[in-house]
Chain length 382, copies 2
């Protein structure tokens, strides 16, 4: 396999982008990434998007975005794995470069969720329609079940979930691309409207529009372009049962654990070598479970880690320095790529007021549905 | 890049599969391919599907199919490029093996179109919604415009289109997996209900359910398994403007030409070295244009090639020996993989009554929308 590096990143502001269409959003992010990379062409493109068909009535967006970005006739294709579409799009771009097929590849993600579609229905297509959605359950309900078992088994409380939201909003307040650039308090979360007990609206990531793109190339080309070398040292992906009730233990996110193990193995590092991470906090409880699956805390100990402040910007393992899905926003297909944008900005030392000190190795974890698919990527400043 | 080979193929019958769900269809094809390959595991999976979200309300089908096929936690992801989803899924599986990331990879395609969704709307999401569909045009209309310009410029007639349908039905009548296993006449086509002048319903591929899967591995592993070595010697992909009116010439399928040129270059062969091909005859006129873009006939001469019988089973370059989309059926996401199933069966000498003599090199061409994306793959019996 050829070694690969990320040499360009770009994203739109996340939020309710009323004046921008799906293609406008992608093209804005794509041009920023190409400009940042300083390349005069790209050889292929992967577009992560969950369900543009249901959100805006448009499929075939690999070709569409290549056309509107002005890069046709290059190979371009859409990658879908629900909310992990961005992470998988990056993985395919990485494999394309690693294989030797193409040298400079764009991995992007985009979603336009606020255009009037039935968002709850569209998102529910990430779960098992036959065994979950048709019975009336939605994603807040699925994660609420996980949270209740977590509380029962490990003695954590709603306050621990609230700490995740408060920390992520604090980081998001420092991110000019975040949907919500405002701090919140524990009480704001505890007193917020209940969606599915114990998940409140402030435990939930928002409905967002947004796009993000990165440029992947070989390490040799990155060196010739005189770019900071942000190496892709690990790539892992995994799957699990799509329906939550079919798992041996609904607290085990096997896809996340396996994706992490594979990425660590490929990178030749252990969890304690990671300096900071962007993880998939679609609901606050997810951040706790993921922290454990990735080995940043022992099983059942994520709440303690968070309580001690170890996941803040100055903690032992800063998590979601960008604000995470909760505060930065969650345009589902774009999320996995936006995580990589943040990690690259941190590794380059360009993260401004939310800069993590001594950031050398960063990790991204992106997840689909209630954890039926996940990618993990590890990046190192060379 | 590591050399790759196809060692297993499987597909369902194409048609109106009322008693089978999306997942049933995929699992049936997947188990057949795994069984045919004689492997005890697969390492990763790519699922081509155009719009299961609009057809049956289910996205995230990479993970879903891994779960139901019993292969989770392996990496699995959906690939979408409208009707070229299958071709692109194969390409990603090929790149995965070529990169060295995984050794035994399943590439599949599936679509369930007859479950009550608005099929015309769902398919229209492959075109440019903003500039085409909202103006009222559908795919028969787009291909009708291409056909009219073709007639005007090259003097071809509706009879030439009909010859494509007649030939493909003749082949399909010999294929037990085809949706329509019956021959038709030129008059059947000419007298059929007009959809968009000059395209009749008998110039159009049908609405179908179906699935197809193939297993890709390294040539080394294929040899160890004592399987016939069907090498992937060429892989090309290309894109074009998504809207037809934005092309310099609406008769030029640039994505097809470029995908073909890249595949030929990689394979180190020329069009005349290809013994037979499966091409994307979503409408009869498409087969004529594609024959020219792939170099099997000079520009404007495809009608003559067909008239001379050179694309029949015993001709110089048999086209769509399986029956093509017209007769075999067109469950959109499955089509690109089913083309590969046919080519492998032909190269193995297992195509029964539709066997092409001296089949050593076969080509597959799979296209999205009105040609905004295309893949071409070339296979050689070692």
């Amino acid at each position: 396999m050829r070694e690969a590096a990320v040499i360009g990143v770009g994203m739109t502001k996340f939020g309710e982008l009323w004046t921008k269409s799906l293609r406008d959003i992608f093209v804005e992010a794509g041009l920023k990434a190409i400009d940042d990379a300083g390349v005069d062409h790209i050889d292929a493109m992967y577009v992560g998007s969950m369900t543009p068909g249901l959100f805006v009535g448009q499929e075939h967006i690999g070709a569409l975005m290549a056309d509107y970005l002005g890069v046709a006739p290059i190979p371009a294709v859409r990658i879908e794995s629900a909310c992990a579409s961005g992470g998988f799009a990056f993985r395919q771009a990485f494999l394309d470069v690693a294989s030797g097929m193409n040298d400079i590849v764009l991995a992007g993600g985009v979603e336009k969720m606020t255009d009037g579609a039935d968002v709850t229905y569209a998102l529910s297509t990430a779960a098992d329609q036959e065994y979950e959605c048709y019975q009336g359950i939605t994603f807040p309900g699925l994660y609420a079940m996980i949270a209740n078992v977590y509380f029962e088994r490990y003695g954590a409380t709603r306050k621990h979930l609230a700490m995740v939201a408060v920390k992520n909003h604090k980081n998001g307040a420092l991110n000019p691309n975040a949907q919500f650039q405002s701090e919140i308090t524990i009480d704001d979360v505890l007193n917020a409207t209940m969606v599915a007990d114990p998940i409140t609206v402030m435990d939930s990531s928002p409905v967002s529009d947004g796009g993000a793109c990165v440029i992947v190339t070989t390490v040799d080309i990155a060196k010739k372009l005189n770019k900071p070398i942000i190496k892709v040292i690990g790539s892992g992906a995994g799957t699990d049962t799509i329906a939550l009730h079919q798992r041996d233990d609904i607290l085990s996110l096997n896809a996340v654990r396996i994706a992490g193990e594979r990425a660590y193995k490929m990178a030749g590092i252990k969890p304690s070598d990671v300096n900071f991470a962007e993880v998939h906090d679609c609901f606050t409880i997810a951040e706790l479970c993921i922290i454990e699956e990735l080995g940043f805390a022992p099983r059942g100990k994520a709440a303690e880690l968070i309580e001690k402040g170890e996941t803040t910007l100055t903690g032992k393992i800063p998590i979601n320095t960008s604000g995470g899905l909760k505060s930065k926003g969650h345009p589902v297909g774009a999320t996995g790529i936006a995580q990589i944008v943040e990690v690259v900005e941190q590794l380059r030392g360009n993260a401004g007021k939310r800069q993590v000190k001594n950031a050398k190795i960063g990790l991204t974890q992106n997840m689909g549905g209630s954890g039926a698919s996940s990618t993990v990527h590890i990046f190192k400043l060379d």
